[in-house]
Every structure is written in structure tokens, then in C-alpha cells.
Amino acid sequence: MKKTPIELNVNGQTRTVLVEPRELLIHTLREQLELTGPHVGCETSHCGACTVEIDGRSVKSCTLFAVQAAGAEITTVEGLASPDALHVLQTSFREHHGLQCGYCTPGMITRAHRLLQENPNPTEEDVRFGLAGNLCRCTGYQNIVKSVLAAAEELNTQKEAAQA
């Protein structure tokens, strides 16, 4: 099948890749751009292991063609940390034991990152509803929810400190 060149902006870098029209974004990210954060866990958009951010929205990259993401700003878990430090969510997941096998974690953290932009002061119920598109088989979610709520608090504290 004929391949088409497209430009993808991933984690702040622009890359040109050759894709078949039918190629799924998750495969482009994993096979061509050699990212190991987004994972494949199903093919029906249920598990969320492949979650990335596209133009400020959480998107399941296993059910989007790469060509549909051409020109868009894509962020994966690899793009969350700054050069000096991990993102608050990343440290919070470790601090509160919000992961076990780690397979859902990149998608979960990427989704949580967007959730906290949408709602910086979520209740436990908000977090549970907001993460319902991402499945975890190991943790029973309790510590994931704890991690996200703690991260929200920390991010708000940092924001207040920066404004003071």
C-alpha cells in the first residue's frame, strides 16, 4: 500500500514519517518514532493504555489513523517531565503506589495530566469518573485516585507559591 509523508509534532519535536493511510497512530508512535510509553492493550478504545494528548484533548491513539494527527500537537508520557525533574504526577504515582506492572501507567498519567488541566480541583468522584476510560488490572484504582488527588494538591500549592 502506498505510503504518504506526514508531519507529526510529538513532545515538542516535528518529525516527518511515511505512513500508509491505514496505519494507526499508536503504531507510528511506537514503531517509527520509537516511543515506548503508549501501549496497546485492546483494539476497541476501552483500555486507554495508548492514551496520548492531541491538541489539548486525551485521545486513544489505537483508534486514530496517523494521518488524522498530521500537524497536530501530540504529547505522550515521555513529554511530561521537564529536563530537570519528573512531573508531579510521575512522582505522586510512585509516592502513593499508583502503579504495579506499569503497563497502564503511561496512559493513566497522560490522562490524569489532561484531567487536572480540565479540573484543577477534582473531588475523588471527579477523578474516578475522569479516569474511567483507562483500565488498570493491578491496582484496583484506589492508589491511582490517591496519587492524582495528591498531585492536584501539590500542583495547586506550586501554583500559589509561584503567584505569591
Binding site: 492493550g41 483494539e43 476497541t44 510512585r94 483507562n134 488490572r137 493491578c138 484496583g140
Partner: protein, 807 residues
């Protein structure tokens, strides 16, 4: 003499981050940044991708397979069928249960989703094109999806490859679709006890077919290097060493020329214990093409073809005196094993450890018979987050207790209490042949009862029943009780093996000159956090900080031989090996310390992170100093270096236990439920990392919640798998998952070096009956004795409807 101001002893202990502390996980730094290395992350130059043509039929003869069109597709390199594998004698493979299984369909298919041909292509899209182009001509045959119908006289013969009338791996087969009859206990005595009892409760308890469904599916990458003659195999293996041995026996490649690597594994829960056709085909394809070949199943393939769990029809009778003292227990199981007997059990136990089904109770006589049966369903029968068939056993006994309580018109908590094995009865010999190592069930039970406010809950429940009867409310309250006893840590080599390999496990430790260390084990973490917790065991045993100990698993070229991680065996077996290897290090360190301190070996003693001269604590050598001395000094009578290896053969299994209580509200009209409280008390003996234990319990409870309340692998009458995607197969999201309260008691195992028993599977074993009993208990006042899981909204509504509650 040491000059530095000595640290406080408590500070030294705390610096170790040893056993008992909630050490943060070392794995998380990678995983939270997307730097895991799972099988699908393995990329090799020139790597090809393999994928399966699968059968759409549950039972059909294959008249022909035409691969020509597929081979002509651009990017397709090869298409393998049984005919290609037959010359290598790899078209069939042995199963872990002593049966054999088709690698690629040989003449017929026996379940929907069965592997028919393997297409190898340059990438996964070309492989998918190739699959579409393979033409298979099927002739449909009658389908059997009901194990009882499979045993009918006129049932179609499923396994034509098996010689009629010949014995199977586990003794005589009495019917062409029969696999084995396995028995434990004394049938005659049990029948007499039950037939002469005051009260007898009889029930059919079905534990439906489900699936472990880890978030990462199964997969492998095989790379045959024709120049060196070495095969490297990466895969989702819960037992990498066993895979190496099996691969060697099957392929004829000498074992030293095979390197098996389990990289990071995205959850296992039993699914990754089995040996699957995909693994074999990736190896053969790599040998044939001379290139690395990757196979990764998708979710549909995972749910339809790689190992399912449960599917046990358990017909039970339990008897008691009129006061409620249990006098006997009998169980006959019809076990649906699917098309091939690919259960993952120790060789001598075709029904696993199901005969732990006397549970936590002192039952004087018992009998169990299990009939294994072939049907047109996927093969498997793995232990989904439980020791072998232990969750089936726990569900059975915990349902039978509830049914007996109904029969006796007794409170089910009190019935349990008066039948618990007492603390002074341990070690306890069960009627079905086990020796329970330790337990204190009454203490755990009383603590659980008090924690949930049991008496008040019963009052509230009674009030809700009255309100319902008065027509004021449509809600009921269920109190789901469970006291489970597990049997984990297989196991003594004398009676436990997998394909002849004794079920010991191992640890090798090397202390580096500067006082840090590496430990390698025969197990493999799938999320349990071994790199964190095994370092904690060692820190306490050898006095080196956990942060200075690397733990490595999963590479058969470097790790000592072990039987892997499943059946909660890592802590009971490899954890023990770790402690024992640590003690060997310590013994040698003691000699070195004594030499350095110029005293007799017996005059020094271990203290946290050092050896001190007895009675003179200011004279000591730290483990760091001792490690350095082991490499830079000639010490008379002591070999240089500081290393140890231990292969641990446990003297017995361990018997973790727990008391779980689920409080659930049920809406009679909609069939919806709300878990108001889920309290889980676990006693796993010595606790290594409380944070990790809690995490394990949360996760296991969520799997139990799913199984009890909605998750199943279901087939229609012609063998179509109706639950092949996550649209149909229930995995709870964060929104519907209940909140959990965890608690514990500590009853160490007397025979384990550090007293630990294992915990990862307890919540699945105890959780399923707790949730299911809550549903049943809600309807007890309205006459419900038994209903089948999963208790989804429809089934709960149907239960209420059958009880006339919608009238």
C-alpha cells in the same frame, strides 16, 4: 577501630529499608516515564511479524488450506501450516497437564479462535493482509459446549487423536470425551457421615469460565542466530526457565544454546504460565526465515485463545449436627477443560489443590472427585490470580457454609465461628490430606466482625427487609461473609513438579567489594514489585541497604534456575531462597569479621548492618568493611569473594488466610448494586512491605469484584465466544470499582525462614465469595439458596423476579 560517631540503632535499621517498611518501589521510576521494556518494545534489526489465521468454527474438519494467494501479497514472507510443522514434529506440542495440543490445526479445529496458519510478514499490516488471503475450506461438525452433554453416550468424539479406551495422563478415561477422574479423601466414610447426619445441605455451585486478561497480552520474539547456533526468546513468560527447558526438549536445540528472557511483564494473573502456539510458531518462523520474528496477540485472540480460568461445576453435600457442628463434606466436580487439557497445575495434581476445599473448618471427613471433560472451548484452566484451583475451592466451601446456615436456620458468621480450626490444632491435618502450617482464625474473625459492626449491620438488614415487605422500600442489604484459607508456595519437590521440574526456587547473591550487591532469582515479577521487596528481605538478612541491592530476574543466561512466579510462590519459595542465600553470606561475613576483629568466630554477633564483638558493641565491622575485606585481603581458611546461591525446596506449602466482609445494597427493581463497604483482613504471616501488600489486596479485590459481578467467558450453543472483546468482557473502571478497607493479623509460617506466606492471590480467592455471598445474603430472607455468578444487573433482576419480588 571505627572513628565515626555511631548512628543510633533505630536509624541504622531505618536506613536499611528492610523488611516491614513501606519502601517506595524502585521499578516506578522507569514505568512512570514510559521506559518499561515489554515484549512489544523489543525491536531487532530485520525483525518480521507473525500473526495467525484462526478458526471461525468451534468444531470443523479442515478439508484444505490454500496459502498461495497469501504468499503473493507484498510483504508476506512465509505462511506456515501444520503440514510445514509436521516434519519437525512441532505441529503438536505437549501441554503442562500431560495432554498434547495442536500448534496449528492438524486435520480439524476444536474451538473458535484455534490457530490454523501462521503468516510471517515484514510488518503487522502485511501480516493482516496475508491472513485475509489464506483460504481454508472447513466442514462443520457438531459442537459441544456443555461438559455434561460431552459425556453423553452419543456425544461426538472431539479428540480423534486419542486412542479409544486408552488411559490418559492421569489414569483411566471412561468416555471418549473424558480426561480424568481425580479423587481425594475417603468416599465411604464421608457418605456414611453425611447420610447419617442431622442436617444435610446439597447444592450445585458453578464457578463460571473467565479469563485473567492482563492488560498486556501474550507475545514473544524469537531470534535464531544461525552463525552461533543460539536461540534467544523474549516472551511474556511467568516461568522463563521452564520455557527454556520445554523449548529445548521440543526443538532439539541444546539447552545452553537457548536464552529465554522475560522482560517487563504487563500483568500475568496466570495467563502467562501456559505455553502457547504463538511462542512455538515464532521460534519455527525465526529458524525458517533466519530473521527475528515477533508475535503479539491482540485482545480478541487473548480472550478467545490463550488460557481461560475456572469453569467448574461443583456438586456438593455438607452435613452437620443440629447445633451446627460440621460432620462431613463431599464434592463432585465436572471440570470443563476445553479442547485440550492445558491446565497449568503441578503434574501430580490434575485438579490443582482443589482439595483445600474443606477451607478454614475442622471437618472430620471429606471426599472430592473431579472429572475433567473435553468440550469445544478454548484450552486452558490456569490459576487466575490464585494457587491452583484454590479460588474454586474457596468459593465452593464458602457457598456451602451459607447454604448450610440456611438449612440450619443459623447465622452464617456464628456457623463459621463454631467450626473454625482452633489455634491449638495447628499444625492441622485436613481430612483431604493437607497439613495447615499455622492460623488463628478466631482472632481474625472477631476483629473483622468488630470492624464492620456486624450486629448492627444485621439489625439494619432486618429493618430493610421489613421496610421492603411493607412496600416502603425497594432496596435490600447483603452482608457477604468469607473466611478463606489458601494453600500457596508450591511446593515441596517431593510431590510438586511442572513437566518433571521440581518446584524449588532460587536466589544467587553477589556482594560487590564496595558493599553493594546484586541478587538474581528464578522468579519473575509481573507487577508484584520483586525488585523492591526481595531487596528488603536481603537488607534485613545481610545488613546492606536495600537501595544498594539490585534485584534481577527473567534472564535464563544469568538467573539461577527457578520455576517462576504464579500460585503466590515467589515469597514462600524464592523469598525463602533469598533469605537462605543471605544467611550463607552472613555466615561467611561472620568469619571475616572475626578475623578482622581478631576474635573467635563465635565471639562476634550480627547487629543490623554489622558484626559486633559480644559484650563490646564499640568493636565492630560493618558489612561494607567486611565486603571490602573479602576481596582485598588474604584471610586464612576463607575463599576470596562474597557470594552465595541457595536453591530452596520448601518443606510444606504456606496457608495464608483472611476474613473478608462485603456490605452491599441491591436495588430489587433494576438489579443494580452498590458496595457500601468492602473490608479485607489478610494474614499473610510476616509482612515484608505493607504498602505493596495493600496494593496487591486492592488489585485482587478488584479482579474478584469483576468475576463475581459481571466478568465471564461465555459461548453460544455453536461455540461462538460471545465475550471476545473488552466491550463484552467486564473489566471494572475506576468509576464502578468499590473502595476498600484493608486490615491484618500476623501469624507467621513456622517453617518459612522469615515466616512469610504470600498474599498476592488471597484477595481474589477471598473476594469472589465475599461479593457473591453478599448478593445471596441480600435475598436470603426471600428464599434464595443459590444463583450462578456473575451477578450482573440482569441476573440479579432475574433472581428477584424468580423469587416473585416484582409482583
Amino acid at each position: 577501630m571505627n572513628e565515626k560517631a555511631p548512628l543510633d540503632r533505630d536509624e541504622r535499621i531505618s536506613n536499611l529499608k528492610g523488611m516491614g517498611c513501606s519502601r517506595k518501589r524502585v521499578e516506578d521510576v522507569r514505568f512512570t516515564q514510559g521506559r518499561g521494556n515489554y515484549v512489544d518494545d523489543v525491536k531487532l534489526p530485520g525483525m518480521l511479524f507473525g500473526d495467525f489465521v484462526r478458526s471461525p468454527y468451534a468444531h470443523a474438519r479442515i478439508k484444505s488450506i490454500d496459502t498461495e494467494a497469501a504468499k503473493a501479497i507484498p510483504g508476506v514472507i512465509a505462511v506456515l501450516t501444520a503440514a510445514d510443522l509436521a516434519p519437525l514434529n512441532l505441529h503438536w506440542m505437549p501441554t503442562l497437564a500431560g495432554d498434547k495440543q495442536m500448534v496449528l490445526a492438524d486435520g480439524k479445529v476444536l474451538f473458535q479462535g484455534q490457530e490454523v496458519a501462521f503468516v510471517v510478514a515484514e510488518d503487522r499490516y502485511a501480516a493482516a493482509d496475508g491472513i485475509e488471503a489464506v483460504v481454508v475450506d472447513y466442514e462443520e461438525l457438531p459442537v459441544i459446549t456443555d461438559p455434561f452433554k460431552a459425556l453423553a453416550d452419543d456425544a461426538v468424539v472431539l479428540r480423534e487423536d486419542l486412542e479409544a479406551g486408552a488411559d490418559g495422563a492421569h489414569g483411566p478415561r471412561r468416555h471418549h470425551n473424558h480426561i480424568f477422574l481425580w479423587e481425594a479423601g475417603d468416599k465411604t466414610t464421608t457418605e456414611q457421615a453425611i447420610d447419617s447426619a442431622d442436617v444435610v445441605a446439597e447444592e450445585m455451585v458453578y464457578y463460571h469460565r473467565t479469563h485473567p486478561c492482563p492488560l498486556e497480552t501474550c507475545g514473544s520474539v524469537a531470534s535464531m542466530d544461525k552463525i552461533t547456533g543460539k536461540l534467544t526468546l523474549w516472551g511474556t513468560f511467568q516461568a522463563p526457565h521452564v520455557v527454556r527447558t520445554v523449548a529445548s526438549l521440543l526443538s532439539g536445540i541444546e539447552e545452553h544454546n537457548i536464552r529465554v528472557i522475560s522482560p517487563d511483564i504487563g500483568g500475568g494473573f496466570g495467563n502467562k504460565v501456559g505455553v502457547y502456539p504463538g511462542y512455538v510458531c515464532s521460534i519455527v518462523a525465526s529458524i525458517v526465515t533466519g530473521k527475528p520474528v515477533k508475535w503479539v496477540e491482540d485482545r480478541m485472540e487473548n480472550l478467545m485463545a490463550t488460557a481461560f480460568a475456572r469453569d467448574y461445576w461443583m456438586k456438593g453435600r455438607i452435613s452437620a449436627t443440629k447445633e451446627g457442628k460440621i460432620t462431613g463434606l463431599e464434592c463432585h466436580v465436572t471440570a470443563d477443560h476445553g479442547a485440550f487439557d492445558a491446565c497449568a497445575d503441578p503434574t501430580k495434581f490434575p485438579a490443582g489443590f482443589f482439595h483445600i476445599c474443606t477451607g478454614s473448618y475442622d471437618i472430620p471427613t471429606a471426599y472430592v472427585g473431579v472429572d475433567g471433560v473435553y468440550t469445544n472451548k478454548a484450552p486452558g484452566g490456569v490459576a487466575y490470580r490464585c494457587s491452583f484451583r484454590v479460588t474454586e475451592a474457596a468459593y465452593f466451601i464458602e457457598r456451602m457454609i451459607e447454604v448450610l446456615a440456611i438449612e440450619l436456620d443459623m447465622d452464617a458468621a456464628e456457623l463459621r465461628r463454631i467450626n473454625f480450626i482452633r489455634q491449638d490444632q495447628f499444625p492441622y491435618q485436613s481430612a483431604l490430606g493437607w497439613e495447615y502450617d499455622s492460623g488463628d482464625y478466631h482472632t481474625a474473625w472477631d476483629k473483622a466482625m468488630a470492624a464492620v459492626g456486624y450486629d448492627d449491620l444485621r439489625k439494619e438488614q432486618a429493618e430493610m427487609v421489613e421496610a421492603f415487605k411493607r412496600g416502603e422500600s425497594r432496596k435490600l442489604l447483603g452482608i457477604g461473609l468469607t473466611h478463606f484459607t489458601e494453600i500457596v508456595g508450591a511446593g515441596p519437590v517431593k510431590n510438586c513438579d511442572i513437566l518433571g521440574m521440581g518446584m524449588f526456587d532460587s536466589c544467587e547473591i553477589r556482594i560487590h567489594p564496595t558493599g553493594s550487591a546484586i541478587a538474581r532469582l528464578g522468579t519473575i515479577s509481573q507487577g508484584q514489585g520483586h525488585a523492591t521487596t526481595f531487596a528488603q528481605i536481603l537488607a534485613t538478612e545481610i545488613g546492606i541497604q536495600a537501595d544498594s541491592i539490585t534485584v534481577e530476574e527473567g534472564d535464563t543466561d544469568t538467573a539461577p534456575y527457578g520455576l517462576g512466579t504464579y500460585g503466590s510462590r515467589s515469597t514462600p519459595v524464592a523469598g525463602a531462597a533469598t533469605a537462605m542465600a543471605g544467611r550463607k553470606i552472613r555466615a561467611k561475613a561472620q568469619m571475616i569479621a572475626a578475623y578482622l576483629l581478631e576474635v573467635h568466630d563465635d565471639d562476634v554477633e550480627f547487629d543490623v548492618d554489622r558484626f559486633v564483638v559480644k559484650g563490646a558493641p564499640e568493636r565492630f565491622k560493618t558489612m561494607k568493611e567486611i565486603a571490602y575485606a573479602a576481596y582485598n585481603q588474604a584471610i586464612p581458611g576463607v575463599e576470596p569473594g562474597l557470594e552465595a546461591v541457595s536453591y530452596y525446596d520448601p518443606p510444606n506449602m504456606t496457608y495464608p488466610f483472611g476474613a473478608y466482609i462485603c456490605v452491599m445494597e441491591i436495588d430489587v427493581d433494576t438489579g443494580t448494586h452498590h458496595v457500601r463497604q468492602m473490608y479485607a483482613l489478610d494474614d499473610c504471616g510476616t509482612r515484608i512491605n505493607p504498602m505493596v501488600i495493600d496494593g496487591q489486596v486492592h488489585g485482587g479485590l478488584t479482579e474478584a469484584y469483576a468475576i463475581a459481578m459481571g466478568q465471564e467467558i461465555a459461548y453460544d450453543e455453536i461455540g461462538n465466544c460471545k465475550t471476545g472483546t473488552l466491550m463484552d468482557f467486564f473489566i471494572p473502571t475506576s468509576f464502578e470499582t468499590p473502595h476498600y478497607t484493608t486490615d491484618h493479623t500476623v501469624t507467621p509460617s513456622p517453617h518459612h525462614p522469615i515466616g512469610a506466606k504470600g498474599v498476592g492471590e488471597s484477595p481474589n480467592v477471598g473476594g469472589v465469595p465475599a461479593f457473591s455471598n453478599a448478593v445471596h445474603d441480600a435475598f436470603r430472607a426471600f428464599g434464595l439458596r443459590q444463583s450462578h455468578m456473575p451477578h450482573d444487573q440482569w441476573r440479579i433482576w432475574e433472581t428477584a423476579n424468580k423469587l416473585g419480588m416484582h409482583a
